[in-house]
Amino acid sequence: MTSADTHRRATGNGGPYSAESALGAHAPTIQRTGRSLPFSDARHLEAHHWLVEEAYVLDAQHYDEWLDLLTDDIHYLMPVRVTTALGAGYDSAPGMAHFDENKYSLSRRVARFQTEHAWTEDPPSRLRHYVANVRTFATDDPAHVVVDSAVLLYRSRGDVREAAVISAGREDLLRRSPEGGWLLARRTILVDDSVLRTQNLAIFL
């Protein structure tokens, strides 16, 4: 497959970004199969429910709880988007990302927020993750589903500073947890801006 093929995304999210990352070797490679599941499908209802619950956890910055929602082999990736000519065959900066994380690096980010010296979130931002356009796909493995969603993050800091808005599409791989419920095993965040309009990404999407 040429790189032009691998990055041609007819509709919305997904794609091979995780497999192409230099830090993605550990990541699960399971991909979607077929068309999206009917909205009445129990797997879709569970996946949608999971995303909404996660959004509340992220809004509240209960990051310890959030880490418990992730598998130990998670790959959490947010490519750097670039403007390229139609037909160029790629839409993200080669070999670069905003986030390209495993469980350890995510755990350090969370640990930092829990110190008393993470100034960028003290006072904390007021966050609202809006999740929409959810669709769920079966995979070859009944223990996994792929879920696409759109996320809009509203981040307000201080009293009069202009709020930051981040719009992104996400492709998630959810894995059934042995204890019941689902865990996030892979997330690709396709942010819709090339140049971010927020002072940093001291948040999660």
Partner: protein, 472 residues
């Protein structure tokens, strides 16, 4: 425009009128008198390795296509069609043999030459009406490179880059010439922060004093073992030529032991030993200083750090980042932050060094997150009338009579060029802002205009090569 003389005089004695960090008039002067002259970093040759590769980069509002032509040469072409002024390239990067304007279809080769002009004969009467031959997208007034780093100056009479960098080139090699192949750049991450561009440049140039306070959290979580207050003040800051930076003091040991201490594998250390001069090697091996953050006047910065990137190991891994603080307005800056790594480094090192970069700097970096919060806050506070009544003291390292708190390091303790001081000081911030003041007080020169296949003006024998006052 009001006279900024008193402001510049205050800056020169290390007293900083707080409003310079958020002031429309100051920003207008910076645009006219500083960014119209200084060398500005726009990218690296490794970003455009093949003929036809290009990236689009800006110097303030001016967009340039930085392209490698079929002849292998790197050019920076002003991204404006010679006909009606459209951007001829609206992507950020790619590979193209030609750029075609979408408005009327004029097209240019990737070396800038105009080759396609629809209906040249019908519309213009051919060469008799419009001389197509020899027309080219406007090149940047000056372009020069050092170790593959591409700089642009808006001054056609800019001194050669090497001369401009001066002795800072000695230190630039630590970041960009670890082997004969030099570095490769990835990125940049780009984001806009509501902060004045000078703050980041000053911080990277010499602010060792902020490390133990701003970056407490990264030590607490085990990411970085160095920036405890004790350690940071053992390092030195140095200024040489048109740049300066900070260092950490390393534990006793040989050159090899000290480079291993910050995480370099032996294969890379051998190449550094061949690539760097005796004096460069002595800064590390004999004097025990390891370069960390630095800035090149006016708005390019570099950083080299060595965090712990894996749970399973206590070992650290070094990374290098290069960035520009691109001014958008008096209170807004676009940060372009690249990850850089030695092109000959082992692949595994490259991957982990990239991880180290992401954890520490850039849009998600755990060091950088707290820096920007401070700078946004400072910029916001500097906007009002009270900031005009406040002169911030930037004289750390100086006594009231102007003598130094500590003497400069003698050559037998610091083998690098320039002036170096152990401990906290604002020497480099003063160097940076003194150069800034020197530029702001010098009126802008007139610039030559280029006429696109022009005809003589009625009142002038020669219609080309006119000079015009550039005003913002």
């Amino acid at each position: 425009m009001t006279d900024q003389g008193p402001v510049l005089e205050d800056v020169r004695r290390g007293m900083i009128p707080a409003h310079i960090y958020n002031d429309e008039e100051i920003f207008r002067l910076e645009r006219e008198r500083l960014f119209s002259r200084a060398w500005v970093f726009v990218g690296h040759e490794s970003e455009i390795p093949q003929p036809g590769d290009y990236v689009v980069r800006r110097v303030l509002e001016d967009s340039f296509i930085v392209a490698r032509g079929e002849d292998g040469e790197v050019r920076a072409l002003f991204n404006m069609c010679l006909h009606r002024g459209m951007q001829v390239c609206r992507a950020e990067m790619g590979n193209a043999s030609h750029f075609r304007c979408p408005y009327h279809g004029w097209s240019y080769r990737n070396d800038g030459r105009l080759v396609g002009l629809p209906f040249h004969k019908d519309a213009y009467g051919g060469e008799a009406g419009f001389r197509r031959k020899g027309q080219t997208l406007l090149p940047a007034p000056s372009l020069d490179t050092y170790n593959g780093l591409i700089f642009v100056s808006m001054d056609p009479d800019a001194p050669p880059l090497r001369e401009y960098l001066g002795d800072f080139a000695f230190y630039l090699d630590f970041y960009t010439q670890q082997s004969a192949s030099g570095i490769e750049l990835r990125g940049p991450q780009r984001w806009r922060v509501k902060a004045n561009w000078k703050i980041g440049a000053e911080n990277f140039a010499g602010d060792m004093y902020h490390t133990p306070q701003t970056h407490t959290s990264v030590v607490e979580i085990g990411l970085f073992r160095e920036p405890k207050a004790e350690k940071r003040k053992d390092g030195c800051t140095y200024w040489a030529g048109n740049g300066g930076g900070t260092t950490y003091k390393l534990p006793p040991g040989t050159l090899e032991e000290r480079l291993r201490y910050v995480g370099y594998p032996d294969a890379m250390i051998e190449k550094m030993a061949r690539s760097w001069s005796r004096e460069q090697l002595d800064v590390i091996g004999r004097d025990g200083f390891m370069i960390s953050a630095a800035s090149v006047f006016p708005n390019m910065s570099l950083v080299h750090n060595w965090p712990r990137v894996e749970d399973s190991s206590d070992e650290v891994l070094p990374f290098i980042s290069i960035r520009t603080w691109q001014p958008v307005g008096p209170d807004e800056t676009e940060v372009l932050s690249w990850f850089a790594v030695d092109a000959e480094a082992p692949e595994e090192f490259k991957a982990l060094s990239y991880k180290a970069y992401l954890m520490c700097f850039g849009s998600t970096g755990m060091f950088e997150q707290d820096d920007v919060e401070n700078w946004v806050s400072l910029t916001n506070t500097a906007a009002g009338s009270m900031a005009r009544r406040l002169l911030l003291n930037s004289r750390m390292g100086l006594l009231e009579d102007g003598s130094n708190v500590v003497p400069a390091l003698p050559p037998e303790q610091f083998s690098g060029p320039g002036e170096a001081y152990v401990g906290y000081g604002e020497y480099n911030q003063r160097h940076l802002l003194t150069r800034w003041a020197d530029h702001l007080e010098r009126p802008a020169e007139k610039v030559a205009q280029v006429e696109v296949s022009g005809v003589p003006a009625a009142s002038s024998a020669n219609g080309t090569g006119r000079a015009a006052e550039v005003t913002a």
